[in-house]
């Protein structure tokens, strides 16, 4: 229990933003599944009636966390919680029910529960417990491996449940790790590999290699004293690389040696790689070694992407990425959801059509419109104004959590706060991104807004543990 006089120091702004989001969710769920035969918003036979129950129970849980539970238990039970959630994740593969092709749900009667939601919290707690330990260093090999394992183990199990989308959310921890001292290289490398991946698939490995080479030359420029020189060098080099794709079209040369254009490109960039490696030897510079290493592995990465894309991704995932990149746009197949979703959002206009007036999201056009595609309903009925309000609300919550986390004296709380902000951000980014067609369709809910008790409860617990921990700062 906390003392009365400390209530005032509770982060009421966060609590308010949370309540507003849950209500926005409720109203829009009502609208998205609105049925003239069931106009009662509390009708528990309908999704909005059920969501009302979830919201009320979530508020009760929030109350319990804020005022009843002792905040010390989180640190104490972090490992037990982590272990339990791993067991649940494993158990659900065998004991769970299959929904939409994934084995990630427990069903008890009509109540369904997804352990992957819970394990985000327990993973965060475990990370916070590990990393706030005295003497922990992320930069030591031991510390790095421990941290990585804590994140990767649940990810692997979730992928085994065929819930790749939920597993993807775990990559958000990289933002927290960055704050905790992980080299910016990792973030940059992650970004580079995503860009190379997308470019390889949507254009060609050729273009990807040109981009990579440019990045490498720039990186060398930034690490040396001669940035301008490197940039001046870069421009003709890009030109030569582009020309190399045409060399095999010149009849004279083609008659002499018949090589594919990739080979010509290799001839052009090989000297650069060798030069890099020689320089690394000469100068004994770790940075240069890293650049050479990245250069070589990235090229291998680019060529293995195609393989990965064809062999490892499942059909529907491949279709979704292809659709996002505009390859094989199939409006009746994988592209259908996104197309309908864009029509719904687009038809909202500046001010929206008004509450219950959405025509696109009625009659089940956008599938999963009360869960993963709830943003469509908001976009259609509340327009640009309403959607912006929602985006600003998330922005407010995420930035407020980051700022508040930064102020924590206890590194456990800080790590927890950054993890929370990262996870909310990742959900926000993927979910809204996919409804607008700038991210592939990855079925994860919009925090606090999407229909479903499992998700709402988890995020409520996730958030309110932080609000409670934050209160201790004022002791």
């Amino acid at each position: 229990m906390i003392a009365n006089q400390e209530y005032r120091k509770l982060d009421w702004w966060l609590v308010l933003a949370y309540i507003v989001l849950t209500l926005i969710g409720w109203i829009n769920i009502f609208s998205s599944v609105y049925d003239p035969d069931h106009t009662q918003i509390f009708d528990v036979s309908q999704k909005y009636g059920q969501q009302f129950i979830w919201i009320i129970t979530a508020y009760i849980i929030a109350f319990l966390i804020l005022f009843i539970l002792n905040p010390k238990i989180y640190r104490a039970l972090a490992w037990l919680g982590y272990g339990t959630s791993l067991l649940l994740l494993l158990a659900v593969i065998f004991l769970g029910v299959e929904i939409n092709g994934s084995n990630s749900w427990f069903a008890i009667g009509s109540i369904r529960f997804q352990p992957a939601e819970l394990s985000k919290i327990t993973t965060t707690l475990a990370l916070a417990a590990l990393m706030s330990k005295y003497g922990f260093r992320l930069k030591s090999i031991e510390g790095f491996i421990q941290t990585a394992l804590i994140i990767i183990i649940p990810m692997i199990i979730i992928v085994m449940q065929k819930e790749t989308g939920s597993a993807l959310v775990y990559t958000a921890f990289i933002f927290m790790l960055y704050r905790e001292g992980l080299s910016g290289w990792y973030l940059a490398l992650g970004l580079l590999s995503i860009i190379l991946f997308l470019v390889t698939l949507s254009f060609s490995p050729f273009v990807a290699i040109i981009i990579l080479t440019s990045v490498i030359i720039l990186a060398r420029g930034f690490t040396s004293k001669y940035l301008v020189r490197h940039i001046i060098l870069l421009i003709p080099y890009i030109y030569i690389m582009i020309i190399s794709s045409k060399i095999n079209k010149i009849p004279f040369i083609n008659n002499l040696v018949d090589l594919p254009k990739e080979a010509w490109l290799a001839i052009v960039i090989l000297p650069l790689i060798i030069y890099n490696i020689i320089q690394s030897f000469k100068k004994q510079s770790t940075k240069l070694w890293y650049i050479s290493l990245i250069f070589v592995t990235s090229i291998m990465f680019i060529f293995s992407v195609n393989f990965f894309f064809e062999k490892i991704l499942q059909d529907h995932q491949r279709a979704r990425i292809e659709n996002l990149l505009g390859i094989n746009v199939d409006l009746k197949g994988a592209g259908y959801n996104v197309h309908q979703s864009k029509i719904a959002i687009g038809s909202g206009g500046f001010t929206g059509k008004g509450f219950l007036q959405g025509t696109q999201t009625k009659f089940n056009f956008v599938p999963e419109q009360s869960t993963d595609f709830i943003f469509c309903t908001i976009g259609e009925e509340w327009g640009f104004l309403g959607s912006s309000v929602l985006i600003f609300l998330y922005l407010f919550i995420i930035i407020r959590i980051i700022n508040s986390a930064e102020k924590q004296k206890d590194s456990f709380n800080r790590i927890y706060g950054y993890s929370l902000a990262s996870i909310i951000f990742m959900h926000f980014f993927i979910n809204i991104g996919m409804t607008m067609g700038i991210m592939p369709v990855i079925g994860i809910p919009l925090p606090f807004v999407s229909y479903g008790g499992s998700s709402l409860w988890s995020f409520t617990i996730f958030l309110f543990i932080f609000i409670r921990l934050d209160l201790d700062r004022h002791h």
Binding site: R179, I343, I345, S347, G349, Q357, K362, P367, M436
Partner: protein, 613 residues
């Protein structure tokens, strides 16, 4: 602390950047971009499709060959279907109730994919069915009648050359995404060739639905509605009267007739017999099975799709090549004693001997052309048989043989002029001589020419050395003619050589009986028909009867090729048909009623059917 501060801010900037991207994208999607507002898959809109009337097809004299009559289709919008009396609906349109149920079940299964789309349910209903339905329409929510047009053929001619229209099938739709389910497309003939001109452009009216799925009003006062653009009229080069007359002559005969106006390349008549009656065209689906199972293949356009050996009419080509190559002059005389007896040899019929070039054409002497052909191939000008042969082939191909002429008949075939490699395969590389390929001398062997090629040959000779690509369309302000059709294609044979050959063709028809000329029976006084008979041996039984001609000799108006399968000598069947055609076209009447009656009443189908079994 600077380090942490910096990293915190980098992360916050990242979040802000993403939020900014979202807001820009959102603004673009909701405020700027109109694409997602006015789209057919926008569920708030109901698109009522307006179908254009297809363009008319006229003959060269303005007679309507194909027009439209209005009919109705019943379309279904599955999402709007509520419970209804299936039996009642089936009774109106005489449908199988099980089929209807299966169809509805299928729509239900794919309802999400279908959305608010509509599909054709019953096509081309009768006026009576329409009035029944109209009365009871309120009982069948989700079903509505839309007005379509179907083809009507006021004049019974040209079933094969006009083509027909049918609903686009799935494979066509896949290849042509601009077409939608239920659209009609032209198949074969003019309908297919000029689909783009004839089809017009669909339009639509957009209506706005409210959230209760009620159509509220025309969207934006009809600002975005698109009226249908009707198809343009095609004026064809066909002479409908002549076409109809030739179709009558070809009753109960298998083969084809092509007539071309040499001075333009206009196809005046193109008949493939047996063909399709226009009465069946408008209901092609109903007759499709019957047409397909007919052993005489009425869908098959023999005039453009059947490469036959040309037979003796090809001697004209060899004569022209011989003259051009200088191995033959008008004075060249050879004697013939019942055939050419070198190697396997070629027989000849009995005729006066010796003969000169003009007489060789007039009497169609095989021996003469065996010698001429060997002289062409073994010409000492060239180093080898192969070179001589390749020169011959080059000249032959300059007449349009061996490749598609490029007409607007969609089914045109290239035919065949053999390659040196073909003979290498048969005899071994360069192990053949002019003797091994001697059958080419008299238009037999590996040659394949369509009746269209032969009519084009007749037109080329009529023009003294050039042809216009034969075509079915006449230009009009609405429909510009393909510029290729107004270009002269010259053969590699000099104009001066044609006069001697034409002289032979003239004499073949207009010599007195008993002179040995092959086609004296078909002469018409005053018409100056120049012709050449052919009798093509073939592996399918009796010889094909072939005749090509043009008339009049000076300033020719019409060039004709007639090919009658398995009927015998060229002079017996093909020549009279050609002659009647020419007379009808040039004079508008027939002076030889007995000949016309004889031709019309003769049934030559059995010759063909016997061989097909």
């Amino acid at each position: 602390m600077a380090f942490e501060f910096r990293r915190k801010n980098i992360l916050i900037m990242g979040v802000l950047a993403i939020a900014l991207i979202f807001l820009i994208k959102l603004f673009n999607l909701q405020v700027i971009d109109q694409e997602y507002k006015i789209t057919a898959s926008n569920n708030a809109f109901r698109y009522d499709i307006l179908y254009p009337a297809r363009g008319l097809i006229l003959d060269r004299n303005g007679k309507i060959l194909v027009s439209n009559i209005s009919s109705h289709d019943i379309i279904i919008t599955p999402i709007e279907v509520r419970e209804f009396d299936t039996l009642d609906l089936c009774n109106i349109f005489h449908l199988e109730i099980a089929n209807v149920r299966a169809k509805l079940k299928e729509y239900h299964l794919y309802r999400r994919r279908i959305g608010y789309q509509s599909f054709p349910f019953v096509k081309q209903i009768s006026a009576q069915e329409y009035s029944y339905f109209h009365e009871k329409a309120y009982k069948f929510p989700g079903f509505s009648a839309i007005s379509r047009t179907t083809r009507y053929y006021p004049f019974n001619a040209g079933g094969n050359l006009l083509g027909y229209i049918t609903e686009a099938d799935t494979s066509f739709l896949r290849r042509n995404p601009s077409y939608k389910i239920g659209d009609y497309i032209g198949r074969t003939g003019i309908e297919q060739s000029y689909e783009q001109i004839l089809k017009g452009k669909k339009g639509y009216n957009i209506y706005l639905r409210d959230v209760h799925n009620q159509v509220k009003s025309s969207y934006a006062g009809g600002k975005y509605d698109l009226p249908a653009v009707h198809g343009k009229t095609i004026i064809s080069s066909i002479d409908a009267q002549l076409q109809q007359y030739v179709e009558m002559l070809m009753t109960n005969k298998v083969g084809s007739v092509v007539a071309i106006e040499p001075s333009t390349g206009d196809i005046l008549t193109i008949v493939s017999s047996p063909g399709i009656d226009v009465a069946k065209l408008s209901e092609i689906n109903k007759y499709y099975g019957e047409i397909l199972n007919d052993p005489l293949k009425p869908m098959f356009n023999r005039a453009t799709m059947s490469p036959y050996p040309p037979g003796s009419v090809f001697k004209l080509v060899n004569a022209l090549i011989g003259l051009e190559e200088g191995v033959l002059t008008s004075e060249t005389t050879y004697s013939c004693h019942g055939g050419y007896h070198v190697g396997r040899g070629v027989n000849c019929h009995s005729h006066p001997s010796p003969i000169n070039l003009t007489q060789s054409i007039m009497m169609s002497c095989n021996t003469y052309y065996c010698i001429v052909f060997r002289n062409i191939i073994d010409n000492p000008k060239y180093n080898s048989v192969r070179e001589g042969f390749l020169r011959w082939k080059e000249l032959v191909e300059s007449f349009g043989f061996g490749h598609k002429l490029g007409s607007d008949l969609p089914s045109e075939q290239a035919g065949k002029v053999p390659d040196a490699q073909d003979y290498d395969k048969i005899h071994g590389k360069n192990k053949w001589s002019s003797l091994s390929i001697l059958s080419l001398a008299i238009g037999q062997g590996e040659l394949g020419t369509t009746p269209l090629h032969l009519a084009n040959l007749a037109a080329t000779i009529a023009n003294r050395g050039y042809y216009y690509t034969p075509h079915l369309i006449k230009g009009s302000p609405d429909t510009l003619i393909n510029p290729e059709y107004t270009k002269r294609h010259y053969t590699l044979v000099d104009t001066s050589h044609f006069y001697q050959v034409i002289d032979g063709m003239y004499k073949a028809v207009n010599s007195p009986p008993g002179s040995g000329a092959t086609a004296t029976r078909v002469a018409v006084p005053g018409l100056d028909i120049c012709g050449k008979t052919g009798t093509a041996q073939n592996p399918h039984g009796r010889d094909h009867s072939v005749f090509i001609c043009f008339a009049p000799r000076d300033n020719p108006k019409i060039a004709v090729a007639v090919y009658i399968e398995n009927s015998g000598y060229g002079a017996t069947w093909a020549a009279p048909i050609a002659s009647l055609l020419v007379e009808k076209y040039l004079t508008g009447q027939i002076s030889r009623d007995y000949l016309e009656k004889y031709i019309v009443e003769s049934n030559l189908l059995n010759n063909v059917l016997k061989n097909r079994q």
